[in-house]
């Protein structure tokens, strides 16, 4: 993800916390992380809890400081900045949270206007900007309501409006949809995508949900134990995962090859050769069908699905192939030359039905 003008740049970051008991070993939250985030991109930081995602993201707005290494934003190293300068940096970076973190003592308008008040805006200007922001998140009628009266989705929209108040160039989302139901998640992801498209906001999303990555992110960074284990465009990571961790995460978002238990059930029902074939933008199911037809093999989809990753198709279809064994072998060889193909079960020999007379 290198680019000529990275918006956010992490240079060999280490972050250690003193161990809870203050003894010997400290906890390594980040263990040598270097990463560039391109201006205007949406990047997903993915990993299990404790992988260092939260710490990494909080380095961007100086809520956490690295033990060593530097964080460069817009060409400025923010690691050594004094508190007052850091406050200026923070006011240009929006942040939304898993549990929304709205101020219960302030109305919706009071929440959204808070960053502007800090930035020293006049009351009239704040009022106008808050109205504009609430219109953007479709909550104009809730200006004078206190947050506890809102639903989860509404709360997160207030959170987004508050984060966008100062028109930040960077938006940080810390598990922003993890506390929401699927429908509300879709709504919030749509809003975040709109923010990125309309304002070109560089967006850094922490998540453990690959569905969020699939819907929203251009690039993905996989983290484990304080290190980046894999990074790349969302499509390449989904279509070509290298590590087991990534593979496990991806399996939650796209229906891939059947599990062992599913395969057993499939075999019971389908005696033919069972093959998992990856479907991608270059090699779709019509190509599969054409090759099977040419080889005079009958193919039936028995499992799988195709989804869109970054507006490009990706998935795995599991076929049952029936026909002459040589034809099946030839067809599989041909398909395997174009896309990832895995034979899960060979054609089972027809059982002789003997009645033992």
């Amino acid at each position: 993800m290198s680019d000529i003008d990275p918006h956010i740049r992490f240079i060999s970051i280490f972050k250690e916390y003193p161990s809870p008991r203050g003894k010997e070993s400290s906890v390594k939250a980040l263990d040598g992380v270097s990463l560039d985030i391109a201006r205007g991109s949406v990047v997903g930081i993915v990993g299990y809890s404790g992988a260092g995602k939260s710490t990494l993201v909080r380095l961007i707005n100086g809520l956490e400081l690295p033990t060593s290494g530097s964080v460069v934003i817009d060409g400025t190293d923010i690691t050594g900045l004094p508190e007052t300068k850091l406050q200026k940096v923070r006011s240009r970076i929006g942040m939304i949270f898993q549990h929304f973190n709205l101020f219960g003592s302030r109305t919706v308008a009071g929440n959204v206007g808070y960053p502007l008040k800090i930035a020293g805006w006049s009351r009239e200007n704040i009022k106008a900007r808050v109205t504009e922001l609430l219109r953007f998140v479709d909550l104009e009628d809730k200006a004078d309501v206190y947050p506890r009266r809102l639903s989860g989705g509404q709360k997160q929209r207030v959170g987004i409006a508050r984060a966008l108040a100062t028109s930040p160039e960077i938006l940080l989302a810390d598990e922003a949809t993890s506390a929401l139901d699927p429908e509300t998640t879709t709504e919030v992801l749509g809003l975040l995508r709109r923010v990125n498209q309309e304002f070109g906001t560089t967006t850094v999303v922490i998540t453990h949900e690959m569905a969020v990555v699939r819907e929203l992110c251009d690039n993905v960074v996989m983290m484990e134990k304080g290190r980046i284990i894999e990074a790349g465009s969302t499509y390449s990571l989904f279509s070509n995962p290298v590590t087991d961790t990534t593979r496990k995460f991806i399996a939650t978002a796209i229906q891939g090859t059947p599990s062992a238990a599913t395969l057993e059930r499939l075999r019971a029902r389908h005696p033919g050769t069972i093959v998992a074939i990856e479907i991608n933008e270059e090699y779709g199911s019509s190509e599969v069908n054409r090759m099977l037809a040419a080889a005079q093999v009958t193919g039936t989809v028995v499992f799988g699905g195709v989804t869109e990753i970054g507006e490009r198709p990706l998935g795995t279809l599991t076929y049952e192939l029936t026909g002459p064994p040589e034809a099946i072998t030839a067809a599989i060889e041909q398909i395997a030359a174009h896309t990832r193909t895995e034979v899960l079960s060979s054609q089972q020999p027809q059982k002789e039905v003997s009645h033992g007379h």
Partner: protein, 220 residues
């Protein structure tokens, strides 16, 4: 036994007034001091806004030393200080000093406990919006804890009424003094009963008002 109410009533009213003066002065002074102590305890706590382990440690020890001292002993123990500051150790004014000192420490703890309960995520949201530490403390943390703080202050107001009764011992006057002098020492059960009733009414009114205000804030 007949109680000589025509004589005692003016004394009772005088006592009520003395109690009100002591309680009001104490709650105002210790309310402010306690807020500062509590906010300092909260903010200096390791991991919090101003993380100052040394300051926190010192404040914590002071509070822990003062708080368990029985108030009646505390009054006499700081007698020399009272003499120095007020010029006498007898009377209403002399009672206000020990009351204020003790109440400040207790309120400090009450305030601290309510502030600690504020969701750290809200503090982080304020910091992320670019707010300074003091601003976060005063414009976010304190308002977030307002409803429980009001209940805490109501609780303290009642504890101060209780303290004021003991001030009678050092000639502080007030209802406590009245009940002991004219009730207990004269074997006049009626006087004690009336005094207790007056105190109960005062406490009830304070509690009702406190509950009502905190509910108003909670309901938003």
């Amino acid at each position: 036994m007949d109680t000589d109410w025509p004589t005692l009533l003016p004394v009772l009213l005088q006592s009520v007034q003395e109690t009100l003066v002591m309680v009001t002065a104490t709650i105002v002074l210790s309310g402010i001091a306690g807020l500062i102590i509590g906010a300092a305890l909260y903010a200096s706590r390791p991991g919090n806004l101003f993380e100052q382990p040394v300051v926190f440690g010192i404040l914590n020890v002071i509070v822990n030393i003062v708080r368990p001292i029985p108030f009646i002993i505390f009054i006499t123990a700081i007698g020399p200080l009272t003499l120095l500051v007020v010029g006498t150790t007898i009377g209403t004014a002399a009672a206000i000093l020990p009351m204020t000192l003790m109440a400040s420490v207790v309120i400090g703890r009450v305030v601290e406990q309510n502030l600690v309960a504020v969701d750290p995520g809200i503090v982080e949201a304020s910091r992320a919006a670019g707010a300074g530490r003091l601003r976060t403390l005063f414009s976010i943390v304190l308002p977030e804890a307002l409803a429980p703080l009001i209940l805490g202050y109501t609780f303290m107001l009642i504890a101060i009424v209780d303290m004021s009764a003991m001030a009678g011992v050092v000639g502080g006057g007030g209802l406590g003094n009245f009940a002991i002098m004219y009730g207990y020492q004269q074997f006049d059960w009626n006087v004690t009963l009336v005094t207790v009733t007056v105190i109960i009414v005062m406490v009830q009114v304070a509690q009702l008002v406190g509950n009502w205000v905190s509910q108003l804030i909670l309901r938003r």
